[in-house]
Symmetry: C2
Subunit: 528 residues, 2 copies
Amino acid sequence: MTLQPIWIAGRWQAEPSPEGDIQSYNPRTGETLEARFPISGEATVQAALLAGSEAAEKLRATDPERIAVFLERCADNLESRADSLVESAHLETGLPIEPRLRNVELPRTVGQLRQAAAAARERSFSEPRIDTKNDIRSMRGPLGGPVAVFGPNNFPFAFNAVMGGDFAAAIAGGNPVIAKAHPGQLTTTRLLAEAAAEAIEHSGLPAATVQLIYALPAEEGLDLVAHPRIAATAFTGSRRAGLALKASADRAGKPIYLELSAVNPLFILPGALRERGAAIAKELSASCTMGAGQFCTKPGISILPEGPTADAFIAELKAGLEAGPSGALFGPGSAANISESLASWVSHGATVLTGGQPKGPGFGFQNTLASVSGSRFVEHSKALQTEAFGPVHLVVLATGAEQMTAIANALHGSLTGAIYSDRQGEDELLARMIEPRLRQRVGRLLNDKMPTGVAVSPAMNHGGPFPSTGHPGFTAVGIPASIARFTALYCYDQVRPERLPPELGDQNPTGRMWRSIDGAWSQGDVSR
Amino acid sequence: MTLQPIWIAGRWQAEPSPEGDIQSYNPRTGETLEARFPISGEATVQAALLAGSEAAEKLRATDPERIAVFLERCADNLESRADSLVESAHLETGLPIEPRLRNVELPRTVGQLRQAAAAARERSFSEPRIDTKNDIRSMRGPLGGPVAVFGPNNFPFAFNAVMGGDFAAAIAGGNPVIAKAHPGQLTTTRLLAEAAAEAIEHSGLPAATVQLIYALPAEEGLDLVAHPRIAATAFTGSRRAGLALKASADRAGKPIYLELSAVNPLFILPGALRERGAAIAKELSASCTMGAGQFCTKPGISILPEGPTADAFIAELKAGLEAGPSGALFGPGSAANISESLASWVSHGATVLTGGQPKGPGFGFQNTLASVSGSRFVEHSKALQTEAFGPVHLVVLATGAEQMTAIANALHGSLTGAIYSDRQGEDELLARMIEPRLRQRVGRLLNDKMPTGVAVSPAMNHGGPFPSTGHPGFTAVGIPASIARFTALYCYDQVRPERLPPELGDQNPTGRMWRSIDGAWSQGDVSR
């Protein structure tokens, strides 16, 4: 069977010298899917970088309206091609067509693209600052080269290297994208790229604004993110792969934005446990099994005070998990990875209360609950924070307030952290002990709410301290903030007015863009 | 002679186990100054990190008003102690007392501190974003640990690890500082720390909000920036030292902000050269010799079209440099470093037109001009962009517009880049060829102006693409943007109103803070 074409410099073409090939799987059956995709080598990486650099130069001279039209057309194309897209994503990921793929993830992806289009048009994301006294003006501008985007396994649309959040943010910021498909979504990514190709033609953007490679040998991936022509990289995936790319990019002084694993701790305080333990257990088991537990924001551990109320909670949670839905894991190695994490937990004092085994048909793992004492957790906090990427949860039983605080102090950086407390104020003192510790260890702090949902909000932070990401100041979700990752700070010092970019002229070019003029935010013109 | 005390955990104390000691120099005479300062070891680093972590926790619970009062008191103390400070800085750096130290740099430093105080009080730097529909609120908050600040040799006040720009930004953002003095400014830094100590007492901030170490063995510096307790690092200095620290911090996933060397290219277009070559030559020689050429933003190379007009320009520039002021270099190794860079230029085709030799008394170097052909520059662009940190300038003679463009393409990342063009529009086409290439290679783009002055403006970018800094999106000068480096993105998802930080409550706590409420910037309250 012939290999699927790669998409380089605006042309769908056979990989000139494939270094082997790969196929996706049907996770529900474990069968290998038919379509074969090439592993690209150095020559293709170089060609993509060259074309991407040229596209970056052209994009800088392109009316942002075209970028907005492109992103909107991408959104339209996802809607008009929804049937084939959800069918393909369902086949490759095992995620249910309804509601997940068709009614939740695809609309979310469409919404992200439209928000990015609106941002590209309205341009407040460029954060213009004008100092009229010194005649110094600055804004966020494109990075000056292509952005490499590595998509994850768990969102075939919303975080796909083509059409996903990083893609939308990089392009809204004026940067071309070199997409590296996830091996579990090869056909879906090809279909998305075809939709993007049509949108490029429709909008008249440079042909190499988007390029697609399916697979790379590890060393080529490391070279790509460190190449002089690359502007930046966005990676969502495993800690091991992410840290290897980070080391390579860092050595070359290239920005890299990572979204890695996280345990997303949940503190359930004694009053809340008494007041509504059963309801929280139900929420938690639903949150843990959603998408077979393969969410970056899945709550991986909960910390609660030991005792009879906790025992009742655990029984409820166990029952919920046992009765809960069981979904497919994404890849042939997923169950083994979970088993490995679980074995590490057990060897450091955890007990498996239910589940704990791979299950078929296809790639699956039992919904699993384990527990461990607070003292063991504090003692072996690293091993017990090994992520188990699947429907698996660890309950940490603390002896009391003091130990809960010690556990909070032992937590590593996570995307989210939640505190459940009672409504009568009984938990308030303890909540105020835990909150500052949790605050500095997570990107998003929640109260009385599971972290699994990630709203596309301008106030969202889908980010967090290392090792959940590479920098605590950036978010991968939420426009305009996610665009800022793919911008450089452009300052103009007494640059002649006719040479200033439109964003920095005296007149507000869109009439709606927010600019900070002499320290005051305004949608108006510079007054003379 | 006894060693000067270090300042750890609020106490001036003898270094418990010094690993040797260091002294500053009088650069005007080359003599070693008397005071001896200890090289600190691991125990002191650990003690500083522990105290700094505790201070970070306390600072988070401190009314920002106290931080503002601290920064203001720092400013006041600099003014009231100006005599001893400028005397010490003059002795240690050789910079003239007037106007440089007393009338320019000290007032600038005082101004920065007052701006930082105003920002800490008014709090717009925290960039609150409120999404009322989803009840998600976010802001920039402190990093949760101490920030290590390594000061450079060239600004004993404005960029000093104590009282300089990074110090002011880190503390305004709510983070304690562990300052590492520059070896050339040991007594000055001690005096600044004494002024800070008084301000801590006055304002009631945690005692370890500022700590001071004078010197560290290289491996201890690498450990400090990668330590689990450190929150981030700011370093201004040489490329070699900076990149070593960066590698260590990167491996540990710790943010590090670098300001390294830069050549700050200047394009002088043919029309400008004809129109006002002599005036530009005068400007340029003044800019190159200011502070003996030891500015991060000193124009290191200029690119101009060869021919008789260029010859006249070079003659003017040469005369200007020969007649120009000669200042002391900061350290005993400075002249040797310049000689080394110059030797590398010469071995790659450059010719020394004037100067080129160290000169005494003390540490000095002749004002130096070299030139090289455009073709050589393009061919050996790396060697010819080796920084010569002193009163040294390289003219690159291009054969025409095409080669000027090729030279622009060969430039590495710099803090600044300038284009001089004529007033009649003759240079416009060429300026528009060069501008986009220069734009993506520099942080601050200037027209018809030397880059040496760095205004403390909210629109300033004192930053730029690697290797001039470690990330193109951040600035080291300009409030509030410089504070953002020392913040994490704090998101609150349905957090109970009484637990929200004041910045994110419905009511605007200062009545002046700008917040983005549902996408619109406002100084008002959230309307219900």
